[in-house]
């Protein structure tokens, strides 16, 4: 975990990370009266969108994950 680079930390309670392998993932705090983090690995298209749009794209993706945390089966609960 400590090898990850934080590319973006948002007050909307998400952050975009770059792993040791260079892949990007987004970690989002989901839930209401109980809040926990889930992670989604960005695919090639999403990575390109983030590189092009930056925060605007990340905001949209984070909000989509908050609204539907399973995110089509792509999200995993962040390790404890």
């Amino acid at each position: 975990m400590s090898d990850e680079e934080v590319l973006l930390q948002s007050p909307l309670l998400y952050r975009v990370l770059r792993g040791r392998d260079g892949a990007l993932s987004i970690e989002v705090v989901v839930g209401g009266i109980v809040q926990f983090e889930v992670r989604v690995r960005l695919n090639a298209e999403e990575t390109e969108s983030f590189q092009r749009e930056g925060r605007a794209f990340a905001d949209r993706m984070a909000q989509a994950i908050m609204a539907n945390p399973p995110f089509g089966g792509r999200s995993v609960k962040s390790p404890v």
Partner: protein, 218 residues
């Protein structure tokens, strides 16, 4: 000298009589009606115009219910609590030096919270012999999936009335709303002041970190 002595004696006497009156010793019976306790201020009074507008629309949608009835019924002591995984607390509150809890945009910070008594009772009930908590017990008590409670947690408690914090019914447009997609969904948002699991909830605006009590739940 004589005048001064007389004044001192009279002053002492009036003090004695005054004290006796305060104790009720020489006070005549009070025939006035007892003063009713002051009406409890609405937590919406603590909101800015934008949040007051959102609250008004939410109350209209929930009519004849509303935030004031909801708070009186479910939050009689005006205290709220919520839970976060320790990881989320460290990464998004401690490491960032956040001033407010919740998801923040350009307008405000938005936080879902439940009655303190419910959360604290559930946490107490879930405590295990080794000093940790049982996610299954906590999940069952709050009507949410057990997986949401795995690992170390932090429990936050805030006195909304004492800190004069803006509070209203949550609405669909609030950041972090998790929309229910199937009837079996247990941890998603339904309008009306209750989670899909049946726990009362409110939307707290700009919950100050500095005025919030934080407890570690191993």
């Amino acid at each position: 000298m004589n005048f001064i002595s007389r004044a001192l004696v009279l002053g002492s006497l009036s003090t004695v009589v005054g004290c006796a009156s305060m104790k009720g010793g020489t006070k005549s019976p009070d025939t006035t009606e007892p003063t009713p306790p002051p009406a409890t201020a609405s937590l919406v009074d603590n909101c800015d115009d934008t949040q007051k507008g959102v609250s008004k629309e939410a109350d209209a949608l929930a009519s004849p219910y509303g935030i004031d009835q909801h708070v009186d019924k479910n939050f009689p002591d005006r205290k709220v609590s919520w839970l976060m995984t320790d990881g989320a607390y460290q990464k998004f509150v401690v490491q960032t030096g956040a001033k407010n809890f919740g998801r923040c945009n350009d307008v405000a910070c938005y936080l879902f919270a439940a009655p303190s008594a419910s959360i604290q009772g559930a946490v107490e009930k879930s405590k295990t012999a080794d000093g940790k908590h049982d996610p299954a017990v906590l999940g069952q008590a709050l009507g949410l999936p057990a997986k949401n409670f795995e690992g170390p947690l932090r429990m936050m408690t805030l006195d909304l009335a004492a800190q004069k914090v803006c509070t209203r019914l949550p609405v669909d447009a609030d950041p972090g709303v998790w929309k229910c997609t199937t009837p079996d969904d247990k941890d998603c948002f339904k309008f009306g002041g209750y989670t899909s699991g049946g726990a009362p909830e409110v939307m707290v605006i700009n919950a100050p970190v500095a005025d919030t009590q934080v407890v570690e739940i191993p």
